[in-house]
Structures are given as C-alpha cells and as structure tokens.
C-alpha cells in the first residue's frame, strides 16, 4: 500500500514534468500544446515507449475532473442572455456549419463500417471546432479587433450550445437499453438540461450571490464541490458530465465570474493536460497505421468544409474576402470537444479513439498554421487573374 502510493506520486510527477517540457516546446514553436499532450499520451500508452501502471487510475480520475473544469470555464465565459441573443443573430451561420461539417465524419464512419451511433459520434468529432484553442489563437495573434472575429466567436458559441443538446442525446443512445427506455432517457435528459438552463436564466444572479464569498479558499471549494456534484449527477443520468459542468458555468454570472476564472484557471490547465494525456493513453498505438489514411482523408475534407462554412458566415456579416478566409481558417482547429465525444465511443469502437487522436492532432496543427498565415494566402486572390471583370 505504502510503496504503491510512492510509485503513484513518482509516476505522476514524472508525467507532469514531461508535460511541462512539452508545453515549453509548444510555446517555443508557437503552436497549441493540446496536440503535443495527445502525442505524449500516445507515447506512454499501450504499445508505447513507457507504460504507466501505478498512476493510471489516478490519471483517469484526473482526466474526468479535467473535462469538468474545461467545460465549467467555457460556461463561465457566457451568460444565458448572451447565448440566447447570439443564437437569434447567427442561426443561419450555425446551420451552415452543421450541414457542412457533420456529414464528413458521419459518412466516413459508415464507410469504415462503424455502428451508426459511432458514426454519429465521428460526425460530432468533425463538426465541433475547438473554442479553447481558437480563442487563444485569436488573442495570441492580436486579432480580437478584426471584424471577422465576432463571426468566429458566434459560430463557436453556437457549436458549444449544440453540444449541450448533442451530448445528452448520444450518451442516452450509447448507454441506454431498449428503444423505449433510450427514448425515455433522452427525453428526460433533454428536459433536465433545458430545465436547468431555464432555472439558470431566472435564478443565475441569486445563485451567484449565494456562492460568492470573500474568502478565495471558500469560493474555490464551493465552486469545485458544486460543479463536481452537478456534473456527477448529470453523468449518472446519462446527460454527460461535460454538459452538467457547462450549465453550471453558464448559470454563474456577475462578480463571481472573474474571481472564479482566476481561481480555476491553474487547476483547469493541470487537469485538462491530464485529460488529453489520458485519452492518448487509451489509444493502442498498433491501431494507428490502420486509421492513418482515413484520418488524413477526413482531415482534408473538413479543412475544406470548415473554411467554406467560415467563409459563408463571414460573407453574410459583410466581411471582405481576406476576412472570410481568416474566419474559415480559424474554425479548422479541433480539440477538447472532439476528444470528449470520441471518449464516449472508445469502449464501443477502439478504432474511433485512434482515429480521433490522429485527426485532432492534424487539424489543430493545420488550423493553427493556416489561420496564422491566412493573410499571406489571400494575396493571390488580389492578383488581376481573380478580379471579376
């Protein structure tokens, strides 16, 4: 017992230190750290360089907390009012985004011979861009003031909201039993989510006032405890822990938000990294050669469809061509949600894990590079050849 504990601490310490090196490396070359965390997880998992045994259970719990904290922080960015306004304004952009980016994954899943529900998961993986990575790219490249940025952010908000409906439905279908009981589970969970969002809309201010405390220690414990509890209950009801945590974040508003962000950010950074490593750990390296071609093909298709959907959304907002291309390129990066979705199906179809890992690594790197250099790509479209007479 005693030595087991020591071993766990040693393994976990070495892992976190390895991630620290990876994070520094990512910063040095100017890329998001997420794909490198995934790579680290792959290298340490089944068939990889070193296998972690003692700390695997601990990492699994850490990964679960990582998802919850990521979604809580994402929810904190928005208020319910903002979400509703945004949906009203950008419905069309949101619809175009789904119609173009869900089918590539779904169809690929069917072609690869996955169960229909696993194909639906793969559709989700290709649909959802990474709000976390993209928001950071926009800020790092000093493009918050750019006109297309409001379009990018609106599309991301709609995608995140879509997840609030999508995750409970797929979880219900994946973990439900008969058709009847599944339908019932899905109906109950959707009702619960909408009910909680409604309550958040009406009572969010009061809840936030109750949770607020002068002591940052008490506030941290309240937030963490409350969120884990709600997320855990949501998971139990097959609504998905991620959605539970997101809803808590949305419900909190006002003064508490900035305090909460400051307190939770370091925890989020640690546990989110653990989550991506854990996902990599679960993927059997031997499966990767078998899915690499498919992952590349799906990646190539979604790079095109994401650019198109961003282009259309920006065009509708009256943005010029260079800006439309930037909007499209920005939306390419996939990340946390794609992995959260793939995680759901990894037990059903082990290829899905390997596929999603490779896919996310490709798209995140491609997205970061294309968005960064999208301004130089626009130059040819200004040449006389392309100017309409």
């Amino acid at each position: 017992m005693h030595t087991g504990g020591d071993l766990l601490v040693i393994e976990f310490g070495a892992l976190v230190l390895a991630l620290a090196i990876v994070a520094r490396l990512a910063r040095r070359i100017g890329l998001p750290a997420l794909p490198l965390y995934l790579l680290a997880g792959l290298a340490l998992g089944e068939g990889g360089l070193v296998e972690l045994d003692a700390s695997e259970d601990f990492i699994e719990v850490g990964a679960e907390i990582g998802v919850i904290l990521m979604l809580l922080m994402l929810g904190l960015e928005f208020s319910t009012r903002e979400l509703i306004q945004n949906v009203r304004r950008s419905t069309l952009a949101g619809v175009v985004d789904v119609v173009l980016n869900f089918p590539p994954g779904f169809v690929a899943g069917l072609i690869l011979g996955f169960d229909p529900i696993v194909a639906v998961l793969l559709g989700g993986v290709t649909y959802i861009s990474s709000s976390g990575i993209i928001a950071k790219l926009v800020a790092d490249l000093d493009r918050i003031g750019n006109h297309e940025t409001s379009v990018i952010l609106s599309v991301l908000v709609i995608e995140d909201l879509a997840m609030v409906l999508y995750l409970p439905i797929v979880s219900g279908v994946l973990f439900g039993g008969s058709v009847l009981s599944t339908t019932l589970t899905v109906a109950i969970s959707l009702g619960a989510v909408l009910g909680v969002l409604g309550a958040a809309y009406l009572l969010g201010d009061r809840l936030s006032a109750i949770a607020l405390s002068q002591s940052s220690e008490a506030l941290l414990l309240t937030l963490l405890g409350g969120t884990l509890l709600v997320a855990g209950l949501a998971g139990r009801l097959n609504i998905s822990t991620a959605v539970g945590a997101f809803v808590v974040g949305v419900a909190l508003s006002g003064d508490i938000v900035s305090h909460a962000r400051g307190l939770l950010l370091p925890l989020r950074n640690l546990f989110a990294a653990v989550f991506f490593v854990f996902f990599g750990l679960q993927v059997d390296l031997n499966l990767i050669p078998g899915v690499a071609v498919a992952a590349l093909a799906i990646a190539a298709v979604t790079i095109a469809t994401k650019i198109t959907s961003g282009w259309i959304a920006a065009a509708r907002a009256g943005i010029g061509k260079p800006g439309r291309l930037r909007a499209g390129a920005a939306l390419i990066a996939h990340g946390e949600f794609s992995i959260v979705i793939a995680e759901l199906g990894i037990a059903r179809e082990s290829d899905l894990g390997a596929l999603a890992a490779v896919y996310v690594i490709i798209l995140t790197l491609a997205g970061a590079l294309l968005y960064q250099f999208s301004d130089s790509i626009t130059l040819p479209t200004r040449s006389p050849r392309h100017v309409r007479a």
Binding site: N86, D142, G145, H147, G320, G323, R326
Partner: protein
C-alpha cells in the same frame, strides 16, 4: 454624434467601429474585464486590425479625454460604470443646446434630469464647484454626475436642441 457600429464579441465584450470621413476605420474593443483595445484597421483589407493597442481602463479614460470628451460612454453605461451606480461624464455644451448660455439656476438641470454639474471647464480655466450664477457657455465642458439614466438625459439636453 457620429454613427458608431456596435458588435457583440461573445465571451469577450463589445467592439465599437467608427468610419472616418477620410475613409479609415478605427475601433475600440471594450473587454468585459475593463481592458480596452484601440484598433486601427488596414486601408486595403478593412476587416484587418493592422494596429491594436492594449489600454487599461484608466489609460482608456485618459485617451478619451485627450480626444475630447467621451461620447461612447453613453453606450457603455452598464459595462463600464457600474461602480456604485454612479456615472461621471464630460459633456461639451453644444451651441444649439437649449441650455447654452443659461446659468445653472436657469437651466435647473438637476431638477429636470436628476444629474448635477460638478464642474465647468473652459479654455480660460475651470470652475470646480459651480454656483447658481455660473453659465453653461457653448463650447465649454460640463462635468455631469448622477445615475446612468440621469446623466444620459442631461447629456442629451446639453448636446442637442430640445425636441
């Protein structure tokens, strides 16, 4: 006042754009955190911020004053000035205002709007706590204090002819 386009940036704040007569576009991003970005847009690619300067809340106020009053304040009441629900605004008195040329007693701004004038600023110098007989001369600046709605109402009266 010139037309300012307002765009929501979900999770970030609000962006304000102003098109100049000379054909340039400048903007301000008001972050929820209080940070302000002053943005200058590219001449050829008008959607691209070619220059973006980060300002703290305090620096933003100072720059606003340097540029002459801060008309945008009207739009920012909630985000910016929730501090104890009091707003301070620097208002240039318009020549066409129905109050121009009146003494503070004659204008009775406080009775009409609920906002008080705590200082009058002119090129000749400023009057920190103006009395009943000090005049609201066109072109001078009145420093108005009150709850947001009152300051808004007072600003409207000082800027435009009564409608």
């Amino acid at each position: 006042m010139r037309k300012v386009t307002e765009t929501d940036l979900p999770g970030v704040g609000i962006r304000f754009d102003l098109q100049t007569d000379a054909g340039r576009c400048v903007g301000v991003v008001a972050h929820q955190t209080g940070r302000r970005d002053l943005v200058i847009y590219d001449e050829r690619d008008v959607d691209r911020a070619c220059e973006s300067v980060q300002l703290t809340e305090d620096e933003g106020h100072t720059l606003g004053e340097l540029l002459g009053g801060s008309p945008v304040l009207e739009h920012l009441d909630d985000a910016m000035h929730r501090l104890e629900d009091l707003v301070i605004s620097w208002v240039t008195i318009a020549a066409g205002s129905s109050l121009a040329g009146l003494t503070l007693a004659e204008a009775s701004l406080r009775a009409r709007t609920g906002a008080g004038v705590v200082a009058l600023v002119s090129e000749a110098g400023s009057i920190p706590i103006p009395g009943r007989d000090d005049r609201l001369e066109a072109g001078n600046t009145a420093v108005v204090v009150g709850v947001p709605s009152a300051v808004k109402a007072a600003t409207r009266l000082l800027r435009r002819p009564a409608g």
